[in-house]
């Protein structure tokens, strides 16, 4: 095609200019993966004797504990989440509009607060239910042991199912009536239709939700520590906080990250296909299934789930809060030195808010690059920036302790390290929100702006930014919500005296001061409901 080689080289330069945004996106991706790479290198270059000792003494037990918990919680949340979504989206069960909201609200309750309430009720000695049974001479009735594997699995299932519920609910909602009708016309019974058409078409939604739950379980610290079930996360925490043994912690973290990366890889794979039931122009909602006399059972199932996962925990928190505020001794116990609840709120809000702002700012170049310049490199950058999904809070803390000590010593023991941890851990959520906002923006809008005499930067400020702002806000709400609830990294990285609501709730709960912990826990839940409400409003299942 080209006649001279001089032409050819000049054309190649002109044809493929590397966009400036690629450098910004690359920097963000690099920053996001440094903690993981640092830990992996540290783990792999660890003392072989230490490796051997850990493999012989700890690894198998931790592996099986962690995997069983992940398996149990993932299965449990899938069953619970999908059945709840099916009841509210596909049947005529009474009250389903209110249940839709109530079923999503447990996302505002961190599982460790759930675990605290669970313990306060069921402890063999001093638990409220145990006391009540004794008081009524019913102590011969067996109570389940609240701690250990089953206790942890139970608490984590009832506070994590909303992930699966929301994703499968959206999938049920976007299913076109014609799929079901076509199956019926081709001779399938309703039952066969459900298994052969409905479930397969929402399977990507269920799988995506389940994999996110699995990643969350690998990272979960508070609940398993409180209920005394040892997993990788809690073992690493003990090594770091109790024994100050960073080498052992690095090795355990390396193994944990590898496990998480495998799950994350699967999640990336499924993510692109999570919606193959898109709402086209001829979309009609599927007709509701009439449960008839069975409606009462559906209603009870919904009510039971909502009671366990939201209404009872929040009522108890409210009850205890009132009591502790009325009791002057407990109330004064809430002061730590000269600081009180207000300072905990302030610390929680500014650290989470700052993290949310940074995460969203960093996510913008990634989103623009991957959406406007699709290709292998931009996709790689996008995925690298989402590696935070696979780094549990304890591991983020470990790597930041080592990195900051070594490279940024002036930041050591400042709250900024806590903010950095939030950003590393939760930037994936911002990246996904920003990417989906960018994807919904037709490139022709930006092109129109260029032809109407705006340069690239003016176009971003005057057209792109105003139009993706709702998506950016959603991303920041998500990061804010997650940071607010974050526990292990905050505990490990906070400077002395930096107390957030989550930290205070945890310390009081661990010491068994449930009444004292209640107001802070309630505040945490209420503050989480605000961004959660904003996020849920954007979900398709809450739109009519």
């Amino acid at each position: 095609m080209f006649r001279t080689s001089a032409l050819r080289s000049s054309h190649r330069r002109q044809n493929k200019p590397i966009p400036k945004i690629a450098f910004l996106a690359g920097s963000v991706a690099l920053l996001a993966v440094i903690p993981v790479i640092y830990i992996l290198i540290h783990a792999l270059t660890g003392d072989p004797e230490l490796w051997q000792r850990i493999i012989q003494t700890r690894l198998i037990k931790l592996f099986s504990n962690t995997l069983w918990l992940v398996l149990a919680v993932t299965t449990g949340t899938s069953l619970l989440g999908v059945s709840m979504a099916w009841l509210t989206e596909r049947t005529d069960v009474p009250g389903r509009k209110i249940f839709r909201w109530l079923l999503a609200l447990p996302l505002a309750i961190p599982p460790y607060i759930g675990a605290t309430i669970h313990l306060a009720l069921l402890r063999p000695r001093g638990g409220l239910i145990s006391l009540w049974l004794e008081g009524n001479n019913l102590s011969f009735l067996p109570l389940p042991i609240p701690t250990g594997f089953w206790g942890a699995a139970f608490v984590l299932i009832i506070f994590s199912y909303p992930y699966v519920y929301l994703l499968s609910g959206a999938a049920f909602r976007s299913m076109n009536a014609s799929f079901d009708e076509a199956a019926r016309m081709l001779g399938r019974t309703p039952w066969q239709t459900f298994w052969q058409v409905t479930i397969p078409s929402i399977r990507p939604g269920i799988t995506a939700g389940a994999l996110l739950v699995a990643l969350d379980m690998l990272a979960e610290y508070g609940t398993v520590a409180l209920l005394r079930f040892e997993t990788f996360s809690s073992a690493i925490f003990v090594q770091l906080a109790g024994r100050y043994d960073r080498s052992a912690a690095s090795i355990l973290s390396g193994v944990l990250i590898l496990l998480a990366l495998i799950i994350l890889y699967g999640e990336f794979h499924i993510q692109g296909r999570a919606q193959f039931t898109q709402i086209g122009s001829h979309w009609r909602p599927a007709t509701l299934i009439h449960l008839g006399k069975q409606r009462i059972w559906g209603f009870l199932a919904l009510l039971f789930t909502v009671l366990m996962s939201f209404i009872i925990p929040v009522s108890l928190l409210m009850f205890w809060s009132t009591q502790s505020i009325l009791d002057s001794q407990t109330f004064s116990g809430m002061q730590i030195g000269s600081r009180g609840l207000l300072s905990f709120i302030f610390n929680s809000v500014w650290s989470s808010g700052f993290a949310a702002l940074l995460a969203v700012l960093f996510s913008i170049p990634i989103a623009i690059y991957v959406v406007r310049y699709p290709g292998k490199i931009s996709r790689l950058f996008s995925r690298l920036s989402q590696v935070g999904y696979a780094i549990p809070g304890v591991v983020v803390a470990l790597s930041l302790v080592m990195l900051v000590n070594r490279f940024l010593p002036f930041l050591y023991a400042t709250p900024l390290v806590v903010v950095m941890a939030y950003v590393v851990r939760y930037i994936p959520q911002a990246v996904r929100s920003s990417e989906s906002a960018m994807r919904q923006l037709s490139p022709s809008l930006e092109e129109a702006s260029r032809l109407l005499k705006r340069n690239a930067l003016q176009t971003f400020m005057q057209v792109t930014l105003p139009l993706i702002l709702p998506g950016l806000l959603a991303g920041s709400a998500l990061v804010f919500l997650s940071s607010l609830k974050e526990l292990p990294a905050t505990l490990l990285l906070r400077p002395a005296g930096f107390e957030t609501l989550a930290v205070r709730v945890w310390i009081w709960s661990e010491e068994g001061f449930y009444f004292q912990a209640a107001p802070a826990a309630l505040l945490l839940v209420v503050m989480s409901i605000i961004p959660l409400y904003f996020l849920l409003q954007r979900e398709s299942i809450f739109k009519q």
Partner: protein
């Protein structure tokens, strides 16, 4: 010349064939030029390269004697003084109709903006909609606002990328007549891209037919239609069928008999003859050269599809009163009052 394009080429990475293959043409001021061709033929890419939205691999683009692209120059889209109407209209959803139209009026005072916008609202006939947001406009209204926005800064050249494709069929006919009148009234120089031959004929003062990245032919609609420069143009623009033939000194021997037509081919050359439904006729004949395979009722006409014994398919117009059944044997013959287009094989 208003617009001059020389040897423009563009190949997308990973594609074997260029999307735009060595295109050269020029345009007069106030002219409307239709780009037409099947999808993927390079017409939209050519448009986007002219707009500056894609970088060409080579080629020179001059607008009003100013070079906006060559080996060393690439003027960014915002500095080209070119307007564009997009396929999806691309009206900014966060701005009202007024602000959308005023968006391109940089350096205007508030009063000047107001005057210019109302002038355009008036021109496209949507004065009442100034305060509305794009979301609340009908398809035809959006179309006209998009045009007003593109025309507002008085661009040297206006590009329109399949602007009617998102409209319903009945609305399309109505809107395109309005739009053509507006373009003529505003004396715009326009390149209009479409994949619809009929729309191209209607909109364009001239037509450029694209195929596989190349501009196959450029010229007046009548020329393109009656004097197609290539077999592709004849097939795409003229709905032509083709029958094979061999030249001899007095004409061409074909399975429809001898076509009596002077020609410069050396005797014995294999050719293809382009025929339209009004160039041939048939009569029922058991010993004929083909058979009817279908009849389509077209109001005043019956439109017959005939399969010749060689397997070639031809179409024939008959009056609405002449009805024959599919399957009947027919004798098909030439019946044109003018020379037919011949292409060497």
């Amino acid at each position: 010349m208003k617009l001059e394009i020389e040897q423009l080429s563009k190949r997308f990475t990973g594609n074997q064939y260029p999307a735009v293959d060595n295109i050269t043409f020029s345009m007069q001021a106030h002219e409307i030029l239709s780009f037409v061709g099947p999808s993927g033929c390079g017409k939209t890419t050519t448009l986007r390269v002219i707009a500056g939205l894609e970088r060409p691999d080579q080629g020179i683009i001059r607008l009003d004697q100013r070079t906006i692209n060559d080996d060393r120059t690439f003027v960014p889209p915002e500095k080209r003084n070119i307007g564009m109407v997009f396929q999806d209209h691309a009206l900014f959803p966060h701005l009202s109709v007024f602000d959308n139209i005023a968006f391109g009026l940089r350096g205007f005072t508030k009063a000047e903006k107001k005057d210019r916008v109302s002038e355009l609202l008036n021109l496209v006939g949507v004065e009442a909609l100034a305060k509305r947001f794009p979301h609340f406009l009908s398809g035809g209204e959006r179309q006209r606002v998009a045009l007003a926005r593109a025309l507002a800064p008085e661009p040297a050249l206006l590009l329109m990328d399949e602007p009617f494709s998102s409209l319903d069929a009945h609305l399309r006919l109505e809107v395109r007549e309005q739009i053509r009148n507006i373009l003529k009234a505003s004396q715009s120089t326009v390149i209009f891209v479409t994949h619809d031959q009929e729309e191209a004929l209607f909109m364009g003062d001239r037509l450029a037919v694209f195929n596989q990245g190349k501009m196959e032919q450029i010229g007046l609609p009548e020329t393109i239609f009656h004097d197609s420069g290539s077999r592709f143009v004849a097939a795409f623009m003229g709905d032509s069928d083709f029958v094979c033939g061999k030249s001899n000194p007095t004409g061409f021997e074909t399975e429809l008999g001898l076509l009596d037509q002077q020609n410069d081919y050396s005797p014995g050359t294999d050719v293809e003859i382009a025929i339209r439904a009004d160039d041939i006729d048939f009569e029922l004949n058991k010993q004929g050269n083909g058979r009817i395979i279908n009849r389509f009722f077209r109001g005043a006409f019956n439109f017959y599809r005939v399969e010749l014994d060689s397997g070639a398919i031809v179409h024939v117009f008959k009056l609405h009163t002449e009805i024959y059944q599919p399957g009947e044997r027919v004798l098909t013959f030439f019946n044109a009052g003018h020379p037919l287009k011949i292409f060497a094989r």
